[in-house]
Symmetry: C2
Subunit: 160 residues, 2 copies
DNA sequence: GTTTCTGCAAAGGTTTTGCAACAAA
DNA sequence: TTTGTTGCAAAACCTTTGCAGAAAC
């Protein structure tokens, strides 16, 4: 886990007079263990593998905290639940492409989009604060070969 | 209400063997009466002004139908509820800017963004299907004058 | 010792669903 | 007559919250 995460969280804890608790630490550990997106339920499961006693309520409360201090961002994957993205520290400007065939989420950065967003926003009479782009698409692999390894994997997983 | 709406809905009804009902017609009427975005609850209220007997369940069922046939699109306004956008027939490529000061939603179209989206998508090995851009921003009006008429209006409405 | 935090269970809010009566074809 | 549709109420689902005991400071 990136040291900057602990630093920023620590700064937030000091600044707002919070306390350091084992449960919070465990949940943060679980959230940033991989760069996968997750929802509350998945995070609870991950955290419970590290400490079986972590509760759902604390997961929700910690999620709020992490969003507040900018370590997590809510990301719209077009699903019913709220998903969280732990990768904005590394890639503060990234966006998401979602494959309609296999639900795969591809993160991408693009140097032009920031400028475009900025121009549009200012032309409309606003100061930009946050921008996001979401692309839904179908993968060439599936179109060309009739198979997509991610789709195959997903179907195997569903069949279980 | 645009004639194309009825046409497309009619085509969908014929194609899938659905039936024409008064309630559905009322709900569609209410949904496309203005170009405002709305959530399920607001649509129910609008529809009930036309016909008091419309039920919440039918509103939800009709919303699904309209999204399926492409007449409505779910739009992420960063709120907790699902909001629907009735304006994609007129402006199939539009996007949203959300003002953080007053919650105002500004729709905009941009000729460059379509090309940019396309390039990015293809470079990643996908065929684009749907793209959206969301911008959160603060309005110049408020920054410059200390007042934003939309914010003022909103605060008056909340104070009631 | 004081204040915050936790887990639990209950509540809150939105959306979906089962069902019997009803309406369209 | 057949099949889809409706309204109602209940259920399902995710998320938040009140509270008493536990833990941090």
């Amino acid at each position: 886990m990136d040291a900057r995460i602990k630093e920023r969280l620590e700064a937030h804890i000091v600044a707002t007079g919070l306390r350091r608790t084992k449960q919070r630490e465990t949940i943060v550990e679980a959230a940033f263990a991989t760069d996968d997106h997750f929802n509350a339920d998945e995070l609870l499961e991950k955290a419970r593998k590290l400490d079986r006693t972590v509760s759902r309520a604390t997961v929700y409360r910690t999620l709020q905290l992490l969003v507040e201090c900018g370590l997590l961002r809510i990301v719209d994957l077009g699903r019913d639940q709220t998903y969280y993205d732990p990768n904005f520290l590394d890639k503060p400007q990234h966006n998401h492409l979602i494959c309609l065939d296999c639900d795969r989420v591809v993160e991408f950065e693009d140097e032009h989009s920031a400028l475009l967003h900025d121009c549009i926003t200012r032309r409309l009479g606003f100061q930009p604060q946050m921008k996001s782009m979401r692309i839904e698409a179908r993968c060439d692999e599936l179109a060309n070969t009739g198979h997509c390894k991610y789709k195959d994997e997903r179907e195997k997983a569903l069949a279980r």
